[in-house]
């Protein structure tokens, strides 16, 4: 808790000292920067964690500011004002959640389209606010109202802003300490992996976007009350861009970064604008430098300076807690492909694939490059949508379902190139995997969830030859390929899927490691009695582990039988000796 309370109490102390040391007027100015800073903190959380860059945050800021202005003009009393504020925040959270969740649905990245949509929305809002003069006062804005609770904007209202700043900062610090933080960061790090671990990432992004929107709206309400006027610029593209700049300069990866950015940039431009004619040039150049050379902004520079004096403590160990059991899925039925076709553009990848696996055992998939093996696995998890036919697990059709539902159907997937959360350490990777298919929403907000470890995962980690050490604090991007293979495997089986899809799990492994991996796979299958489908090129491995072998060629099933039968199949021999025909 000290990591949360110390910076927040420091912040509180600094903010409370400002009026004492510099007087009410300076506090009034700082108050405005803090209001922008709080909105920027919301942007920082969204952008820094999930990688979603909002270019229209003033939409929520301005909307709340207008509603506040209208409410305060009506002078209906503090209670009604606050009730209405709550209702507006609720409405904004629903709207922004739906907006982001709907747009991100069915996607696994946060490309520029969402940013451009938010940009277009704020441009519409600014235009409408400027045109609807009857409601908003048009260009000249809405003014002539007292601040919330009739507090003096030059005096006591500052403490309302301080309270909001401290509460939001505290909330963000606390969130940073909770498992939900890992999930949010995992979105930016490796969204496809997070989906395969059963997390609906569009919902995660929707929720974080809604959170940032509510923070923006909160600061918009404060703005109206503090400034006594709301104009279309409060709801415009310019302010939205300004907030992003404050966030970037201050540092989007730190709770206090955007606040620092807002106060420094606000103060510097107020000081320099009238005395230094080239301040805009200076600001632009400084901003470019930050983007190019210091993406973590001022906060990151401060932190690395601080870390030089006091290096971070490393290797804090923790007590593992037995994880709850996984959510039950009944999927111990065969996987069945029925005349599956897949076409992307003009390229036909699968041309009528049909087969039915046994309900249990290890099935190897072999075939030359381009046979459609990985694509077939992608259709099972929903990463690719089939153009015709059907895929069923037991009685349930599973094709054309989004990837995040695969795990809920009992399907776990390890990808061809090890796909882990590269910017996180081993322990964090495993913690996310342990939440997969186990955590309820509430568990994401309990610190103890970090410590969940299942027995099978502990067994795996204690295996003397498995090269994974939880004590490592380095991000796993620095791990060698082989270690990442084991990490991804460990993460995939952590959710204990009934159907395990492994895409070349032994690629890049040494002979010893290969033996270890095949043993682990066999043990897992034996323990769970489930179905394992492995894509493998090494025939000796195939022979060692397979109950059945599926041979694919040119997007079709060439043979599907025991290893011995397949090996003696003349067609298979032709493909393997003579290459593709």
């Amino acid at each position: 808790m000290v990591y949360v309370l110390l910076p927040v109490s420091l912040l509180l102390a600094v903010l409370l000292l400002i009026p004492e040391l510099f007087g009410d007027f300076v506090a009034y100015q700082i108050g405005l920067y803090l209001i922008y800073g709080v909105a920027a903190q919301g942007i920082g959380y969204l952008w820094g964690k999930t990688g979603v860059l909002p270019l229209g945050q003033a939409l929520f800021f301005g909307f709340a500011a207008y509603v506040t202005a209208i409410t305060l003009r009506a002078e209906s009393g503090l209670i009604i004002d606050l009730a209405l504020a709550t209702a507006v925040l609720a409405a904004i959270s629903v709207f922004s959640f739906l907006l982001a969740a709907l747009i991100f649905r069915g996607r696994n990245e946060s490309g520029p389209y969402f940013s451009l949509i938010t940009l277009a929305l704020v441009m519409i809002a600014e235009q409408v606010a400027g045109t609807m003069t009857n409601l908003t006062g048009g260009f000249n804005g809405m003014s002539g109202f007292d601040s919330l609770g009739n507090l003096d904007p030059f005096g006591s209202f500052y403490y309302v802003i301080v309270a909001a700043t401290v509460v939001v900062s505290l909330l963000l610090y606390v969130l940073n300490k909770l498992p939900v933080n890992l999930i949010a960061k995992a979105v930016a790090d490796n969204e496809p992996r997070l989906q395969l671990l059963g997390f609906p990432t569009h919902v995660v992004k929707g929720a974080v976007f809604a959170f940032s929107a509510v923070i923006a709206a909160l600061s918009g309400g404060l703005f109206a009350s503090h400034q006594g006027i709301v104009t279309p610029t409060s709801m415009g593209f310019g302010l939205s861009a300004e907030m992003v700049i404050l966030t970037a300069v201050g540092g989007r990866f730190h709770v206090l970064g955007p606040l620092i950015g807002a106060v420094i940039v606000g103060w510097a431009s107020a000081e320099l604008r009238d005395s230094f004619p080239y301040w805009e040039l200076l600001m632009a150049a400084a901003f470019i430098l930050v983007v190019l050379k210091a993406p973590g902004g001022i906060a990151e520079l401060l932190e690395s300076g601080y870390r030089r004096i006091r290096p971070a403590k490393i290797g804090k160990s923790f007590e593992a807690i037995a994880a709850p059991t996984t959510k039950v899925v009944d999927s111990d039925a065969p996987l069945r492909f029925d005349d599956v076709h897949l076409q992307i553009g003009v390229v036909r990848i699968l041309n009528g694939v049909s087969f039915e696996t046994p309900p249990t055992g290890i099935v190897s998939v072999i075939g030359p490059n381009g046979a459609g093996k990985t694509s077939a696995l992608n259709t099972i998890t929903g990463n690719l949508r089939i153009t015709d036919g059907s895929i069923a697990l037991g009685k349930r059709r599973i094709d054309s379902r989004p990837p995040y539902k695969a795990l809920h159907s009992g399907i776990g997937r390890k990808l061809q190139v090890p796909s882990v959360f590269f910017s996180m350490n081993v322990s964090e990777n495993l913690s996310i995997a342990m939440m997969a298919n186990r955590a309820r929403l509430i568990d994401l907000f309990r610190p103890s969830t970090y410590q969940w470890r299942s027995k099978s995962l502990s067994d795996l980690l204690e295996h003397s030859s498995v090269p994974l050490q939880e004590e490592l604090v380095e991000p796993v991007e620095h791990l060698p390929q082989g270690h990442r293979q084991f990490l991804e495997y460990a993460m995939t089986i952590a959710a204990e899927p009934q159907v395990l899809l492994l895409d070349e799990p032994c690629a890049g492994l040494s002979p010893d490691e290969t033996a270890l991996m095949t043993n682990l796979v066999r043990e897992y299958q034996a323990e769970t009695g489930g179905l394992v489908i492995v894509i493998e090129h090494d025939i000796s491995i195939v022979e060692a582990i397979s109950d059945k072998v599926l041979v694919m060629h040119l997007g079709q099933v060439l043979a599907f039988d025991t290893f011995e039968t397949v090996r003696s199949n003349p067609e298979v021999q032709a493909v393997y000796s003579g290459g593709t025909k």
């Binding site: 007027f25 009034y28 100015q29 405005l32 441009m123 235009q127 400027g130 045109t131 003069t133 048009g138 260009f139 000249n140 804005g141 003014s143 002539g144 703005f223 400034q227 006594g228 006027i229 104009t231 610029t233 409060s234 310019g238 302010l239 107020a270 604008r273 009238d274 005395s275 004619p277 805009e280």
Partner: protein, 382 residues
């Protein structure tokens, strides 16, 4: 001390030199100018005009015997930031009165922050309807710019079918609301009315409508760049042969952007043009170029309004005997003073002034008519 420099280095040395003269100043006056933003174009001429006004005031004894010093702030930014900048001058530097040349949103923000505690002169062309305590207005209102001019053009150009086009915000809509009554009174009719967003820079469809409407006069309340773009296209389509144009915010810079080729029969109505031929105006223009060099940003009605504002402030404060808002409000009605614009009177805390109608044909404003002592229809009670 005037620490600020204009962006144009040419003027900087002169401004600094002038600053030393007022070193012994007793009263600080905050001057709010748009250095950045869409109106940034008018920053330098506004600063220069204000500086010249301070010189004149100090030379004739200052305000109530005390010398004045100007402190500038950039208010070409959104209202919240502009209000902060003004408050820095007031609370931080001890400014005792304000003269502001900026948009209406900033004015509304400042009224809220000043709260009648400090005299505040608002100087640019504006839509009217602002009557806060301690607020005095020198800017032309729509009634001043149009009431005498529309009948005059109806007469001289024989026009009767008016098309009204403006940007989509308060000032054009308020202007056009009044214009309709003057047009009707002059026996004309309105054949079209249109508002375009600030973000639109193409006027083809508007021009097509103007053409089809058969209008023989177009009242333009577009501002800045939009006005330039519209007028360039207007002439490009040959519409200058079909209709005259009247703008209420087309000043020297805008006309330069429109270009000599595109300014045929383009009229502008304003309280000030650099080409006013009165003795006072000519000597003002001479002082201006002597102080800031021939290359200084062109004189124009908006920039020059800061001069008017300071002169009003001085006249009113001298009449009231102090810079106290109550005393000034009480003394305001009927204050008279003379400036390059002519003889002015304060009525309803707005400035009754001479209105000039200029023809921009050939790329330079040529005054074709002037209307003395035109009062605004505003009547702010004291």
């Amino acid at each position: 001390m005037l620490k600020s420099t204009t962006k144009l280095l040419a003027g900087a040395a002169t401004v600094l030199a002038l600053g030393t003269v007022s070193a012994a100043a007793d009263i600080k006056i905050g001057v709010l100018v748009p250095d950045s933003g869409p109106a940034g174009l008018f920053g330098p001429s506004t600063r220069n005009s204000a500086t010249l006004a301070a010189e004149t005031i100090n030379a004739s004894g200052g305000i109530n015997g005390e010398q004045i010093e100007l402190v500038f702030a950039d208010v070409g930014v959104p209202p919240a930031e502009a209000a902060q900048a003004a408050l820095r001058l007031w609370k931080g530097e001890g400014a005792q009165a304000f003269v502001g040349m900026h948009d209406s949103a900033v004015r509304e923000a400042l009224i809220g922050r000043f709260n009648g505690q400090i005299p505040y002169v608002y100087t640019p062309v504006y839509e009217g309807n602002s009557c806060a305590t301690g607020l005095y207005v020198t800017g032309e209102t729509p009634s001043q710019q149009l009431a005498p001019v529309i009948p005059h053009l109806t007469e001289s150009e024989g026009v009767s079918k008016w098309y009204l086009i403006g940007h989509d915000y308060n000032w054009p809509r308020d202007t056009n609301a009044l214009a309709k009554t003057y047009i009707a009174d002059a026996g004309g009719e309105v054949v079209g009315e249109e508002y375009v967003p600030f973000t639109v820079s193409e006027f083809d469809s508007s021009l097509q409508r103007i053409k089809e409407s058969g209008a023989d006069a177009v009242l333009i309340t577009l501002v800045g760049g939009g006005s330039v773009g519209f007028n360039v296209s207007f002439a490009g389509f040959g519409l200058d042969e079909q209709a005259i144009r009247l703008g209420t915010l087309i000043e020297e810079n805008t006309l330069a952007g429109i270009g000599a080729d595109n300014a045929d029969r383009l009229y502008s109505s304003s309280g000030y043009f650099a080409s006013i031929e009165s003795e006072a105006a000519a000597s003002f223009a001479a002082d201006f170029s002597a102080a800031f060099g021939a290359d200084a940003p062109a004189l124009n009605g908006l920039g020059q309004s800061a001069y008017e504002g300071l002169m009003l402030l001085a006249a009113l404060a001298n009449k009231a005997g102090s810079l106290d808002v109550d005393a000034m409000d009480a003394a305001a009605e009927g204050t008279t003073w003379s400036t390059p614009r002519g003889d002015n009177t304060l009525t309803g805390r707005h400035m009754a002034q001479t209105i000039y109608l200029a023809d921009g044909s050939g790329g330079a404003f040529n005054i074709v008519a002037s209307f003395g002592n035109v009062a605004s229809s505003e009547a702010c009670a004291n």
